[in-house]
Symmetry: C3
Subunit: 343 residues, 3 copies
């Protein structure tokens, strides 16, 4: 529970209306009730300001709404995230190593860590203070996990991988599985041992059931602040820069490097050994088969500049008609040629 | 073991031949032996009726097969499913909370529930009678699971999510992972806490390694009777109507609503904040980027009506030839223009 | 630690330089130091031979490098894999059934097996000697696992499935989940029980979070030596031949048969009930909707011969221009027709 004034201080905004109003939670603009705060980021919902039951609304400067308390701030969407955090997020209770967890005597578990039942922790593992390992987390030997991480249930981290501070891993991610490397030996395939590791830098989030393969040699690396959604495949020796966004079901093949501040839409595929420059945006379902310069938007499979793809896609359904038209033109030209020859 | 007559009653069919024949199992038409029943749904397999060793065959009305006992019924495929259930499916043995399961004292586990070793069950969890939690199922605090559910090994259900009755969850599904929401804060991204839940209605099936993200606010909801295959991504605040079919590796982005009785083929992607009408069918690998009316079939990425896509796809490989032809026509027209000018 | 001479014997190569040089590990050509061996498979890295700090380099016959010891062999990439194995891979320590593992008294666990904490093993399960079950592996009743397998953490194998010898399963694979089969019953869907199994032959590797569905009746089968990457969906009754490569995020629908020595690129989709001939290669993100003969390369969705697809894809972005050009030609022809009529 916080007053509207306290929330305004938190998000760097100003109150128009009742600063003493007590706010206990956040809700959508159409379902919010008294005691709740909501937000308005999209002008198309402006009419809802008249009917909302919320005690306060976070809005951009310039919005007026007689009879409703406003929290005016430059970025209501970011303010929404901060208020939600303040009102709804509590640090998990520290419970230590609980009964039913199996921790190797040579592991180093800091004070202030919670290890739930069903966790199995190998030799020489280090877990930093403030970190919670939810039930069924499995850390192979020599894994390092930093401070204040949330590692959700059933996540597996294989031998030697390193996770930084404030990293959040959703349930059942796999970190450090073998890269997919096989050398043809004439008849079949000979496994190339994958002896590298995965390094996850600070403030990264990894989605549920996402797979990060360990490097063949060296490192697979996820840069500070990057966010990876569910069911993503990151192959061996991939590097992802800082603050990049990788949406669900993306696959990035071996040794490719994604720059900083990139966004890869859902189900994108990136072939191996490529470089994607900083600030690149790639539309959903695209297929990337060559290096991309930074700062541009691409779509399609194989990908082309987004605008070209939009225009070409709109023409795609016209293909049969175009073929017919070409046939008609051909016949008309033949008739003209005939006429002229005769003439 | 049942007699053919008993099976006929079960499926609402009639016996042509030996109603007292004892049937112990179901098999394919080419591998079935004496004591087994098989089915014929596709007329192209009619010739196999002469050579099958099965004791009986489920067929549509109108099929004749001297020397083979028939179970005649309007829908042999459905009958096959019912007979398979009758002969092969037994309710799992009730074993209570087994040694090696960790159940919070504040959880409410009904009589008639089985909780296998390796399960971890949090505070205020409710599990209804007849439900089986296979090994390694992890239920966070405040989860509700209805009656007669089968929750297969390694499934994780995060805090507060609700599962109805007769729900089947294949191994290692993740229910209630955080939605993928981040607000840009100038330099990087600020996590938007995901404080909603997932609600799974009665008679739903969820595939292996499928992810259902919890809502940011409110609910992600899977409608009664819908079936979701393996490795599917359902993002935060998605709603799926009743009796819809979502095939493997589909991804549905945030807040999109899929109607009733829809079918989404494998690897389909649906962008966020869209509405897909009831009875829509979407071909495999399609990409949906706009609202779709109900009752139609779409394919392609971006998707267009299925027939248009089929025709356009057939023309796609002709593109290089079409370009050449256009070049030829252009030159011929120039020649004609020249001729006429001269003439 | 091995001498260069010993490594040469191992890979069937010859030493040019110091055969007594002691090699303790393998590294990339640009990061290798004294005591390390590296390899050169791609001629474009030849200049690095002059600057590498490695004690030795594996090269093809014909490469010369004064001042560097060479291990000359016909296939340096395969030699790299073998040397990596010799220097870096040790058999896992045998630890027996460890505390915290739950093994049914009717399971048969051979000597020389390791079962880590958190594993749960059902009735009548058989595990062959030399096999390691990492933490949290769950084997339902009647599962058979051969000798010298590595089953990584959190993998689930459902009832009755059979795994051969020397099989490697990356973390959290699901083997034997129900196939996705439902019969419409007028209003909704009736579940078709999936009473078959999965059979994995010898020397197969299965990726992390990959799903192999059990057959409806009979078997889903993965042929000897085949390698399946992460997040792959193999539906019920699929057969994969020997020595095939299935890259990440591929989905193969029910009852399709993939031949021997095939390669399916990342994110490929294969529709149900198809046959793909031996030695077929399918480009990433392709969609296969019809049978394919063996020995060819296909790409696109729907797939066409790879060369045709490459050429057509290059024309795709020209579509809007082509439409305009067709319009221009049409007008020019009309003008010509007019001129001739007048003339």
């Amino acid at each position: 529970m916080k007053t509207l004034k306290e929330l305004a201080e938190l998000v760097g905004g100003t109150v128009v209306g009742d600063g003493e109003a007590e706010i206990h939670s956040v809700a959508g603009i159409d379902s919010a009730k008294a005691g709740e705060i909501t937000f308005l980021a999209n002008p198309k919902y402006l009419p809802l300001l008249k009917t909302t039951q919320a005690s306060a609304v976070m809005v951009k400067p310039g919005v007026e709404a007689p009879g409703v308390s406003l929290l005016v701030c430059p970025n209501p969407y970011l303010a929404f995230a901060k208020v939600l955090t303040a009102l709804h997020v509590t640090k998990p209770e520290v419970r230590g190593v609980m009964e039913g967890a199996f921790v190797d005597p040579e592991a180093q578990i800091a004070d202030g860590v919670t290890v739930y039942p069903g966790c199995v922790i190998g030799k020489n593992v280090t877990v930093g203070t403030g970190t919670t390992l939810y039930p069924g987390v499995i850390l192979y030997d020599d894994v390092t996990i930093g401070e204040d991480c949330l590692i959700h249930a059933g996540t597996v981290v294989r031998e030697g991988c390193r996770i930084g501070n404030r990293v959040i891993v959703q349930p059942k991610a796999v970190i450090g599985s073998d890269g997919f490397g096989f050398a043809p030996d004439g008849s079949g395939y000979y496994k190339i041992p994958q002896v590298g590791i995965v390094v996850i830098e600070d403030d990264v989030e990894i989605g549920a059931n996402t797979c990060l393969d360990r490097a063949a040699l060296g490192e697979t690396r996820i840069g500070r602040g990057s966010k990876i959604d569910n069911l993503v495949q990151i192959a061996h020796n991939v590097k992802i820069g800082e603050d990049s966004i990788i949406v669900s079901q993306v696959g990035i093949a071996g040794s490719s490097e994604i720059g900083k501040h990139c966004t890869l839409g859902g189900q994108v595929g990136v072939a191996g050994h490529l470089k994607i420059g900083d600030n690149t945006m790639i539309g959903a379902q695209s297929g990337i088969a060559s290096n991309l310069p930074g700062g541009q938007v691409f779509s399609g499979s194989p990908a082309i500049p987004h605008r070209d793809w939009l225009r070409a896609s709109m023409s795609f359904s016209k293909l049969p008609e175009m073929r017919k038209e070409i046939g008609r033109l051909k016949r008309q030209i033949e008739e003209l040629q005939e006429l002229i020859k005769e003439g």
